[in-house]
């Protein structure tokens, strides 16, 4: 498989802040990758490095094996940025035609507009679109050049549930054509639903790079919470299979891959337990767990 995008030990420093601290990621043709992380984790900086909008302070960024600023590489990319604008007095169709002119073999304008679901707004000026429609316009501009890869930086921020669903559907159908998609998100659910591969970034480093299922399985299986008949401390859980314990008075929250054994032992030790909940950890838990580990390493 051909590498579409590559970051090789990329660092990016803004003044005294190091936003990206040695990220290495290679993305191949046809992959659907979500870069996941909290705000300020360095996702947008990574995308900017991949696109050549920013230069790495050290390390390398490559697009189709070329420098990301190379027009030949750019001609194979479509982009949706978090912060960007278009001339507001131009109509949807005119903007799509403008962006089509930048690419060697663009899609027909109607097709790009259709993929974004903007048929009814084709003759409307950009400044008169709603937030969701504007976001779809940016999607149309990203795909109108028939690129091999599209970069979507937080594409669903600010969209309502319905608009988000429609939008994710558009992305999925584009992916169905064998295209490479790289999106950033801080919605775990979105990464889980959409991506085949999740790159978790936190504080400028990659803390995990795997399928959503693997990431979920990597954390301890169950979230257990309960209230005991007496105040609890870490010592009460000695020798038990748990992770990420939080105690507050009589209340405890923890993760465990053997909740039955843990509870059996607690009963045996004579604790009286109320309000017991045992639930499966979702990607959110996995994510918190991963970023918490990274935090410990950073501190140590």
């Amino acid at each position: 498989m051909e590498k579409v995008v590559e970051l090789i030990d990329a660092h990016k420093r803004y003044g005294s802040v190091e936003a990206v601290k040695g990220v290495s990621v290679a993305i191949e043709q046809g992959e659907l990758v979500a870069m996941l992380g909290p705000n300020g984790a360095g996702k947008t900086t990574c995308i900017s490095l991949m696109l050549g909008l920013r230069k790495p302070s050290s390390g390398q960024a490559k697009l189709f094996g070329l420098a990301p600023t190379d027009r030949r590489a750019r001609s194979l990319c479509g982009v949706m940025l978090q912060e960007s604008g278009v001339p507001g007095t131009l109509k949807v169709k005119e903007l799509v035609d403008l962006f089509r002119s930048y690419y060697p073999n663009p899609l027909p304008a109607e097709r790009a507009i259709g993929m974004a679901g903007l048929e009814e707004q084709a003759d409307r000026q950009a400044q008169k679109l709603s937030g969701g429609q504007l976001q779809r316009l940016y999607f149309a501009l990203a795909v109108c050049g028939d690129p091999q890869v599209i970069f979507l930086d937080e594409p669903t921020v600010g969209l309502d549930v319905e608009a988000r669903r429609a939008f994710l559907e558009s992305i999925r159908s584009f992916a169905g054509e064998g295209k490479t998609i790289i999106l950033t998100t801080h919605y775990l659910e979105e990464a889980d639903q959409l991506a085949e591969r999740v790159v978790v970034i936190d504080r400028g480093v990659v803390v995990a790079d795997a399928s959503p299922a693997e990431i979920k399985s990597r954390v301890l299986g169950r979230r257990v919470s309960f209230t005991a008949d007496r105040p609890l401390s870490d010592a009460d859980f000695e020798g038990l299979p748990y992770q990420n314990l939080e105690v507050e008075g009589n209340r405890a929250r923890l993760l465990s891959n053997a909740p039955e054994a843990l509870l059996r032992e607690l009963f045996r030790r004579g604790y009286d337990i109320r309000d017991l909940q045992v639930v499966g950890a979702d990607l959110e838990e996995a994510f918190l767990d991963l970023t918490r580990h990274a935090e410990k390493e950073t501190v140590a």
Partner: protein, 263 residues
């Protein structure tokens, strides 16, 4: 897909250039306030000054008409250049259009060239309106050959004004750009002898005026109607010098802006 099957291609430049220029024109024509100000205001100034002073000029009325056609023609084209580049670029930056464009395969120089062509077309529109008024209502006479030379000189001599606009556009915010542009352009027009001939201004102002690009620029059309006060060669040298200085300044501000966003 193997590495060998990726075929690298780029879009043809003329197609991009045409689409960019067309988009800029369409966008501007849909902002009527801006368009009217650029296209109609110079003609309104011409009408006002011609109405007030042509009577006093007596037997020299015809010469007076040609003189102010040259100075308001200068004003009209320079106005389009300074405002299009100044406020236009500041607005594009303010709306972050530059961010998205930067990520597309459109080369920056094609976008700039489109801005130049668009501004020249727009300036030509302003001149056509001015000519229409001056030749009909104003009764100014200019033979066709002189008119072509007059127009070409006005368009080709406008490069220092584009540089000035670029310098303003890349150094001021969208909110401040209209004020900054007016604050620079209006006094400069006055001191350069656009509204009142330089010879009738105090000598201190004359000294300053003769250093400014707009004064030398106005000499180009004035020469075609035989009313220049410095030779064409001298004016051209001054304009080349100012073009270099103002484009260097514009480029410097562009780089400062770009280094904040794209380095």
């Amino acid at each position: 897909m193997s590495a060998a099957t990726t075929t690298f291609q780029v879009a043809p430049v003329p197609r991009m250039l045409w689409a960019e220029t067309r988009a800029k024109l369409l966008s501007r024509l849909r902002s009527p306030a801006f368009s009217v100000l650029s296209i109609v205001l110079p003609t309104m100034f011409f009408a006002l000054f011609y109405g007030i002073f042509s009577g006093q000029a007596g037997s020299h009325a015809a010469e007076f008409g040609k003189y102010i056609l040259a100075t308001y023609g200068t004003y009209a084209v320079a106005n389009v250049m300074v405002f299009n580049f100044g406020i236009g670029i500041a607005n594009e930056r303010g709306q972050k259009q530059d961010l998205l464009q930067r990520a597309t395969p459109l080369p920056g120089w094609v976008a700039t060239l489109a801005q130049v062509i668009f501004s020249l077309v727009f300036a030509l529109l302003a001149l056509i309106v001015l000519y229409a008024y001056a030749f009909t209502v104003g009764g100014v006479r200019l033979d066709p050959g002189a008119l072509v030379g007059f127009t070409l000189r006005l368009l080709l001599g406008s490069f220092p004004m584009m540089g000035l606009g670029m310098a303003i556009g890349y150094s001021t915010s969208a909110n401040a750009a209209p004020a900054v542009t007016n604050l620079i352009y209006l006094p400069m027009s006055f001191i350069s002898g656009i509204f009142i001939p330089l010879s009738q201004l105090p000598s201190g102002i004359q000294t300053v005026g003769k250093l400014l690009p707009l004064y030398h620029y106005s000499q180009l059309p004035l020469e075609t109607v035989g009313q220049n006060t410095e030779s064409l060669g001298t004016a051209a040298l001054w304009l080349i010098g100012w073009t270099v200085v103002l484009f260097a300044l514009g480029l410097r501000f562009y780089r400062m802006d770009a280094s904040k966003k794209f380095s």
